[in-house]
């Protein structure tokens, strides 16, 4: 049996850097069961039998955020052989708050005081012996970034596992509180057997619901313990949970005074403070923000990223892979269905998506750099005011911006949003922003029916952004999104110079996870859609068809078309075009070309403008445009949604909502448009008004849910492992 050492600490304490230097390249990234919190583990360098389990960055072991619940469950129930608790030496006080809680678990723990180089530069110093005595655990000074003290940390933590018992847990609490906890310990001793007594006793004192549920204490015992808790609460005139937090911090402040020697001469502000004074300045913050966003957009969408995508799509997949394969298949006379499946179906479909990969890597590289620097936290700080009105987070701005180029990296950029609810909401709404691939559809319809008016493109953006806002407000008031367990309190970490290895690693992890997870769904859907498009029933048997008009897809189109009749485009060609738009939105134009019998169409489909003008009224065309702008995104984006939601249920919910919303809006536009253009009032108009009224109600009703009421639910509740 190998041994497992858990790595725990606050966010921004340098945990990722330490994890990277402890494990090197042997990392495995996944999710904790039931939640979208990332789980990373790796083998300790030079010790194949030692697993390092990285835990989410947390501030406390309360049960109020997903990260905390995951960490607690792991530490208390799976009990690693040892814990490395990394703390930020420049921020000892708040970091030790978590430390005192970890030590109560009774697992052998070593404390690594990180960023010791910065501490020394500031002229501060610690009395390690005193700190060790007080905490009852070994303390080491390290610098994860500079590689100071890492080897010693490795040796010492392995020795720690082999030590018999952890030292006595030092007492943090005083007076009646300590007395009550000791009393609870006594009462629990028989119930708990091998479990960490002190940890459970404190949690019982705090009336921690999850622990009380787990213990299932007898009525007489729990009411007896309750008396003790009440007694303390009366004495301190506060709730038990608050008393514990208060006393912890009191103990820590006292402790820090005795172990830390502050350099009193240092008066000038740190360089991080000076930078921040400019960057989040009331006047300069917004222009700087706009500039940074422009820079990200310019590099990843307009220039470098754009070229990379064009190259990957046209040159790499188009000419090199598909072209050469085609030639080779022809030379070796492979069955036409097989070469069709591989070249058009798989390479065409998957290539269309994988073409975005280089662009995504460039975007992720930039995002990782800004994250490492500490700017992302400031973005949330600057934009929070606007976005939280729509139930989104200040950090939702970046995905939205990127989505105006391509929704796929836009969705992937949601990774920087910590709050799960905000993240889900952003993923669901970000593809409403019209992406580059939707622009050919706009150009086609604007050219064919609106004399090329620029107003159509402008309205597309207004509809997109409007839909984000409307959806945000509507969804915010529905049950799955109502309220949040914790208030928005966010640390603004000191600015760092980014470490290249951290940045590259984060970029690679995000890019690779897209290829791996999204790839499957894209591959399958591309094959299915290709089959439907290429095969049809001719002369009574299923076979490959040359003419798309006789394909299975056309047959399905005819079947489904009536569904779109109320929206004004019940024509089966429009239905089929909408479906092929799922592969890539610009396919809508090409499909119309094929269906109208034009072999090659330009990007804006100028060759088929006359055909479209003949079969669409301007109103129907606009309704078609609205539907295609807002409905389910392309398979690539759906794959990205699947990856980021880590849940089939949420993926379907997202696609279902988007398509339903698109249908309702297009219906309202078309039916009310009919009435305004002088048509008689009919059933359709009544339905449209009803739907509009319903939407208004959902928009303006008061939320039933108090913002803070909803408890945190985690699948696979706290169980005895």
């Amino acid at each position: 049996m190998g041994i497992t050492i858990a790595l725990a600490g606050n966010p921004n304490s340098g945990k990722t850097t330490l994890f990277n230097s402890l494990t090197g390249s042997s990392q495995r990234v996944g999710n904790w069961p039931g939640v979208t919190v990332e789980k990373k583990e790796g083998k300790l360098k030079g010790h194949k039998d030692v697993t390092i389990q990285d835990l989410p960055g947390i501030y406390s072991l309360s049960p109020y955020t997903l990260e905390e619940v995951v960490t607690r469950r792991y530490l208390a129930n799976e009990r690693p052989d040892a814990i490395i608790n990394i703390i930020d030496g420049t921020n000892l006080e708040r970091n030790l708050y978590l430390t005192t809680q970890i030590l109560e678990l009774g697992i052998p723990t070593i404390i690594a005081v990180n960023m010791i180089d910065v501490v020394q530069k500031n002229g501060d110093s610690f009395n390690l012996a005193n700190l060790e005595d007080a905490l009852g655990a070994e303390v080491l000074e390290i610098s994860a970034l500079k590689g100071i003290g890492i080897n010693e940390l490795i040796t010492r933590s392995i020795e720690l596992v082999n030590q018999a018992r952890p030292k006595e847990i030092s007492s943090v609490f005083e007076g009646t509180v300590e007395h009550a906890i000791a009393h609870i310990e006594e009462s629990l001793e028989s119930v708990l057997s091998s479990k960490p007594l002190r940890w459970y006793a404190i949690k019982v004192f705090e009336r921690d619901e999850k622990v009380l549920e787990e213990l299932g204490l007898e009525e007489t015992l729990s009411s007896h313990l309750e008396e003790h808790i009440r007694f303390c609460e009366e004495e301190y005139q506060d709730r038990a949970e608050s008393i514990i937090t208060d006393q912890r911090y009191l103990y820590i402040s006292k402790l820090v005074k005795t172990v830390m020697k502050k350099n009193v001469d240092r008066m000038e502000a740190s360089w991080s403070d000076r930078i921040d004074r400019v960057i989040t300045n009331r006047i300069l913050a917004l222009p700087i923000f706009a500039l940074v966003m422009f820079f990200i957009y310019y590099i990843s969408i307009s220039t470098v990223g754009g070229y990379a995508t064009d190259w990957a799509n046209d040159t790499f997949f188009g000419e090199l892979v598909a072209g050469n394969l085609n030639d080779w298949f022809e030379a070796t006379s492979v069955a036409p269905w097989l070469s069709g499946l591989i070249v058009e179906g798989i390479i065409g479909g998957v290539g269309a998506v994988m073409g975005f990969v280089p662009q995504m890597f460039i975007l992720f590289l930039l995002l990782s750099i800004f994250e490492e620097i500490g700017y992302m936290a400031r973005v949330a700080f600057i934009m929070d005011r606007i976005f939280r009105k729509f139930g989104l987070s200040g950090k939702s701005f970046i995905p939205m911006l990127i989505s105006s180029g391509c929704g796929v990296p836009g969705i992937m950029a949601c990774r920087t949003i910590e709050n799960e609810r905000d993240r889900r909401m952003t993923i669901m709404t970000t593809t409403f922003v019209p992406c580059g691939a939707k622009m050919p559809i706009v150009a086609l319809l604007a050219g064919a029916l609106f004399g090329g008016s620029g107003l159509i493109a402008t309205s597309a953006y207004f509809i997109g952004v409007g839909s984000v806002i409307v959806s945000g407000i509507i969804l915010k008031k529905t049950r799955p999104f109502a309220g949040e367990a914790a208030p928005f309190v966010m640390e603004l970490p000191a600015y760092h110079i980014p470490s290249p290895s951290n940045v590259l690693r984060a970029t690679w992890e995000r890019g690779w996870s897209f290829i791996k997870r999204a790839g499957t769904i894209i591959l399958i859907s591309a094959i299915v859609l290709w089959f439907l498009q290429a095969f049809g029933v001719e002369n009574g048997s299923l076979q490959m068809v040359e003419d798309n008009n006789t394909s299975l897809l056309a047959a399905i189109g005819v079947l489904i078309a009536p569904v779109f009749a109320p929206l004004g485009f019940g024509d089966w060609k429009a239905t089929v075009a909408t479906f092929t738009g799922l592969i890539a939105k610009e396919n809508v134009v090409g499909t119309f070309g094929v269906l109208y019998g034009v072999a090659e169409v330009a990007e804006d489909g100028v060759e088929i403008w006359a055909n479209l003008a003949a079969s669409f009224t301007p109103l129907a065309a606009f309704s078609f445009l609205v539907f295609n702008l807002l409905c389910a995104p392309c398979f690539a984006a759906i794959g990205a949604i699947r990856r980021e939601m880590s849940s089939g249920k949420w993926t379907w919910a997202a696609i279902g909502y988007q398509t339903g919303y698109a249908y309702v809006i297009a219906l309202i536009v078309y039916q009310l448009g009919l009435v305004f253009s002088g048509n008689p009032f009919g059933v359709g108009s009544a339905v449209a008004i009803l739907l509009l009224g319903l939407m208004m109600f959902m928009l303006f009703r008061k939320s039933k849910y108090n913002e803070y009421e909803k408890p945190l639910k985690v699948k696979g509740e706290w169980t005895n492992a």
Binding site: R239, T280, I283, L712
Partner: protein
């Protein structure tokens, strides 16, 4: 009775009481906002909310709505 929300930028105050219950109060306290702690209000975000405060040697951003729960003097 004054709350952190009404505290001016550049002022340093001491926390006297924390209102609110459950997750909200606990989360704020976990970040070190407890009775008797000194808080320096560093700045307000460009759009007027949230605010940036400095306590226990680090910086924290908190919405005005949550700052209202914190009584100070």
């Amino acid at each position: 009775m004054k709350t952190l929300k009404e505290t001016n930028v550049g002022e340093t105050v001491v926390v006297t009481k924390l209102n609110g219950a459950g997750a909200v109060a606990k989360r704020i306290m976990d970040m070190g906002v407890t009775k008797g702690v000194e808080i320096y209000v560093r700045k307000v975000a460009p759009l007027g909310d949230p605010i940036e405060i400095c306590l226990r040697g680090y910086e924290l951003s908190i919405r005005k709505k949550d700052a209202e729960l914190i009584e100070v003097e």
